[in-house]
């Protein structure tokens, strides 16, 4: 019989030192999103090609002239993506020419006209940053806030009300007041779902969806002919807000880029600091990671539900206030093209990390903005961007597909994140 050696029992299990693998962790985290975006671009390329009239007319003759068809497909896709890129990041030749003209003649009109496109990508990204953060905060706290769209409407209505009802304030009071109104309205509207979950255990997914409908219809009523917020323009919209409540533009016309973008980036840093550096953030993340352990640790779980929803809603409200005070300057019925719903995809793409959300929002903003140019130059419908976004999300949500395509190894540890416990809970 083998004699037992007298060594210590529990030798520390060999695990790689954590610091050394930090970079590899970051790389691992980025692999799937980057490959997902890449794959989505390829698949969308085929969709663009096979919906183009030039390609479709050549299709019946494929067997006689296969290379003609492939060439046409290639041309279509390249033209479309080139237009997309130019729309998203600007025409750098035009920018350079405008710059030279400005130096030579002192006339900056062409320069700012050329700068409109790249800055428009940031303008488009701004509401995505706010709404993406709103959903991400919910996810971190284990809540699925589908009501961001409705909370965005609430925020826009409230800041519009402050914007057009109060006259004569200096901008440094009026603007913060209007922003605050938007923030609070969003927080309260989301907070309702939080309170219902905390006190009655009602699922926040269902609740926020219902609250969306209420807010949409409430908006319709406010702007209807006999509605209290209807303006005099004869269309379903509110009066215009006073300029003292405008979020100021950074550059002259026609660049619409305004200070809301910096507000959004500030929100990214704030959310990061709040979630990871404060006790309340610790409580939110604990509740999100394990509600039972949170309860055991003495955290008032119900209070945290309300707080998380409130924080999420205030970010959504700011998204609405930002759009209203920075761009539209009045409230209309179809105020948002669905920022609050795209935000769910954004938060997933950004893995619920504030900086991940920022990066994803910049990407979505660039895609949205570039799509307009793609439509005008390459006659590819703007909707292809929705397809592209959907594909990115599909690949992110099913990383197995991406791993299978690129023959990647399965991660060694279970790295799946629990995004929300709302489903079926």
């Amino acid at each position: 019989m083998a004699e037992a050696t007298a060594s210590s029992i529990s030798k520390p299990v060999k695990t790689p030192a954590p610091r050394a693998s930090a970079w590899r962790d970051i790389l691992n985290t980025l692999t799937i999103p980057v490959l997902a975006i890449f794959t989505a671009l390829i698949v969308s390329g085929f969709i663009i090609a096979f919906t183009a009239p030039t390609v479709l007319t050549l299709l019946p003759n494929f067997w006689e002239h296969p290379f003609q068809l492939i060439g046409a497909m290639w041309d279509t896709v390249i033209t479309a993506y080139a237009a997309l890129l130019q729309g998203a990041f600007g025409d750098w030749g035009a920018i350079l020419a405008g710059f030279q003209e400005w130096i030579a003649t002192g006339d900056a009109t062409d320069l700012f006209r050329a700068l409109r496109d790249p800055f428009e990508s940031l303008v488009a990204a701004t509401p995505y940053i706010f709404t993406g953060l709103a959903v991400a905060v919910g996810f971190k706290g284990g809540l699925f806030n589908i009501g961001v769209e409705g909370q965005l409407f609430a925020g826009a209505i409230a800041s519009a009300w402050v914007g057009f009802n109060i006259e004569g304030l200096p901008w440094f009071i009026h603007l913060p007041l209007a922003l605050l109104a938007g923030l609070l309205a969003g927080a309260v509207w989301a907070g309702i779902a939080g309170v219902l979950k905390a006190t009655r255990g009602v699922n926040e997914v269902i609740n926020t969806i219902m609250l969306n409908y209420i807010m949409f219809l409430f908006t319709d009523w406010l702007l209807s002919e006999s509605g209290p917020m209807r303006g005099s323009a004869g269309a379903p919209r509110t009066p215009e807000i006073y300029p003292s409540a405008y979020l100021p533009r950074v550059l002259p016309d026609p660049v619409r880029f305004h200070w809301g973008f910096f507000l959004a980036v500030g929100a990214v840093f704030f959310v990061y600091w709040f979630l990871w550096k404060t006790t309340v953030g610790f409580e939110i993340r604990t509740v999100g990671a394990s509600p039972t352990a949170a309860k055991y640790a003495g955290i008032a779980v119900g209070r945290i539900f309300v707080l998380t929803m409130g924080l999420s809603g205030s970010l959504a409200g700011l998204a609405g206030a930002n759009e209203l005070l920075g761009l539209n300057h009045y409230m209309v019925a179809a105020f948002s093209p669905g920022y609050g719903f795209d935000a769910i995809a954004l938060a997933l793409l950004g893995k619920s990390n504030p900086f991940g959300v920022l990066a994803s929002a910049l990407l979505f903003g660039a895609l949205r903005n570039g799509a307009t140019r793609m439509q005008s130059l390459a006659s590819v419908p703007v909707d292809i961007i929705s397809v592209m976004q959907a594909l990115i999300i599909a690949f992110i949500a099913a990383p197995e597909i991406v791993r299978w395509i690129y023959r990647l190894r399965v991660p060694t540890q279970k790295e799946q994140e629990v995004f929300a416990r709302g489903w079926g809970g």
């Binding site: 019989m1 083998a2 004699e3 037992a4 050696t5 007298a6 060594s7 210590s8 029992i9 529990s10 030798k11 520390p12 299990v13 060999k14 695990t15 790689p16 030192a17 954590p18 610091r19 550096k277 404060t278 006790t279 309340v280 610790f282 409580e283 993340r285 604990t286 990671a289 394990s290 039972t292 352990a293 949170a294 309860k295 055991y296 640790a297 003495g298 955290i299 008032a300 060694t412 540890q413 279970k414 629990v418």
Partner: protein
């Protein structure tokens, strides 16, 4: 005669861990082979390889002298290999018959389940092996011991003759364990071969024909019960001499710390789980709560720690009213709690070790200033606690899920035992841990007792209760059936109490209620 099952050089690697390192094992027909080892020694990994749940990196499996590949439990069953898992795979709202036929249904007329035929087969198997089971009962209505029999019948019904039992006695009373051993001996007599996984030395010596000891993924040695004793087996398992009993002096109880009066608590299904329970725990003593799993111990610990609503009755800690206190209020009264389910309640598995080490205390100085966390202080305290409590972790930034079970529990103990605790409520503090960790945690509990803490110990391990407690209260069907002096009782006496029979073996299970108590129950 060739062995019925042979494992040759089985090797299984996980990232950073060699779970099985060239393991050889032979199982002869008609023998009970005990696989002994601490948690984390690689027993379960090895059996999962054999059962097709893991694929070995190296090595081969021979069944009846033929090399075979097992890639799923279905393959294993086809080779006659069956496994009873530690956690039963039964559906509570199905009958015994339905559970047995699940996945292998007997069908008449193409679509209709033939329950009668299966029930008949179950009765046959029952009588053949002494496995008394009524096939028409629902799983939820039968005891854990009988449920285990159903699991065994499931395997026999599928014609398995190589049976693997993973820690089968963990959920049983000592008497039920003895019954199980009898069943296993019957199975052996009929030519079945059994692999019995355990970390309990007593069982190995009582039951096994041969014993193979695993440590750190390697076979340390094989032996037979007649050639060895528990001290030697323990040394093989752990790699050094182990003190099998806890070294402690007689308790010197002082003032009452925890006072529980007429406690009534309901479980998830709103039925009464704790029915009119009263007891006291004094400073400097350990009160053990013994009982078969599911007799209200879990609910008792939850109710006393603010995790479960108290229906009626009164609880005080050092004179403070705590009947409806929140976990945080209790924490601030210096009550420490080692929860029963460490992964669910005690830890946030996705958080780094340092966060878990301050999970109850993060909100107050020095760890927080206002609402801002002070990470310097948190890291300092975490490093200190890791050192003091010998938590084996590469660093305090590692995800807690990556630690072994024993080290996870040490994280909880390090957190809860720091500071001047007045009352310790420890629920299953060593469940699933290795001998080394058990020894360590027991020592710490006795230390806290001697430092003047009142300790309430809830455990399903009778050995643990007996070696740590000064007094033992036995719970049966939500009531304390009796409280005995630990020094004067025996395992047999406790076993009878756990089964609801009073010490003399004659009195009925439950004491008749006094008129006052009756009146109180009716009030609710």
């Amino acid at each position: 005669m060739p062995p019925i099952l042979e494992l040759r050089g089985i090797t299984k690697r996980f990232p950073g861990v060699l779970a099985n390192d060239h393991i050889d094992l032979t199982l002869n027909q008609g023998e009970i082979h005990a696989l002994l080892g601490e948690n984390g020694a690689g027993k379960t990994t090895l059996m999962n390889v054999l059962y097709g749940l893991y694929h070995p990196d190296e090595g081969e499996i021979m069944v009846r002298d033929k090399p075979i590949r097992i890639t799923s439990p279905r393959d294993a069953i086809a080779q006659g290999i069956g496994m009873v898992h530690q956690h039963f795979m039964l559906i509570p709202v199905f009958t015994v018959t339905e559970n047995v036929m699940l996945g292998d249904e007997s069908i008449t007329n193409g679509v209709v389940l033939d329950r009668k035929k299966v029930a008949g087969e179950i009765r046959e198997l029952s009588t053949k092996y002494g496995l008394e089971v009524n096939p028409t009962l629902y799983i939820k209505d039968i005891s854990v011991g009988i449920q285990q029999r159903v699991e065994i019948i499931k395997l026999l019904y599928r014609k398995a003759d190589i049976l693997i039992l993973d820690e089968p006695t963990a959920v049983l009373t000592p008497q039920e364990a003895d019954d199980l051993f009898q069943v296993l001996r019957n199975l052996k007599a009929r030519g079945n071969s059994i692999i019995f996984i355990t970390h309990k030395l007593r069982e190995v010596l009582a039951l096994a024909d041969r014993i193979t000891v695993l440590r750190l993924g390697k076979v340390v040695g094989s032996t037979e019960p007649k050639n060895t004793n528990s001290a030697e087996l323990a040394r093989m398992m752990v790699g050094r001499s182990v003190i099998l009993s806890v070294d402690k002096e007689a308790a010197k109880p002082k003032d009452v710390v925890l006072n529980v009066q007429n406690l009534v608590v309901r479980d998830e299904r709103h039925s009464i789980a704790i029915n009119d329970v009263s007891f006291q725990v004094r400073a400097g003593e350990v009160l053990g709560i013994a009982g078969v799993q599911g007799n209200g111990q879990t609910e008792l610990a939850q109710a006393l720690t603010g995790l479960r609503h108290v229906e009626s009755g009164r609880v005080t800690v050092l004179g403070h009213e705590t009947t409806h206190a929140t976990p945080r209020q209790l924490f601030e009264l210096d009550v420490a709690h080692v929860p029963e389910d460490r992964q669910q309640d005690g830890l946030v598995m996705s958080f780094p070790v340092e966060d878990n080490l301050v999970l109850n205390e993060y909100y107050r100085p020095p760890f927080a200033k206002g609402i801002v966390l002070n990470f310097d202080e948190i890291e300092k305290a975490a490093a200190e606690r890791v050192r003091e409590f010998d938590v084996r972790t590469p660093s305090i930034f590692v995800k807690t899920a990556n630690l072994s079970g024993g080290n996870q529990q040490k994280v909880i103990v390090a957190r809860e035992f720091t500071g001047p605790i007045k009352l310790l409520i420890a629920s299953q503090p060593t469940r699933g841990l290795d001998v080394g960790s058990i020894e360590y945690i027991h020592k710490r509990i006795v230390e806290k007792r001697d430092a003047g803490a009142a300790v309430l110990l809830v455990s399903n391990e009778l050995d643990e209760i007996m070696s740590l407690s000064d007094r033992i209260a036995v719970m049966y069907k939500g009531q304390i059936i009796d409280t005995v002096n630990a020094a004067e009782t025996t395992k047999e006496a406790l076993g009878l109490l756990m089964a609801g029979v009073h010490g003399d073996g004659k009195t009925p299970a439950l004491q008749p209620q006094t008129p006052e108590q009756k009146a109180e129950t009716h009030h609710q």
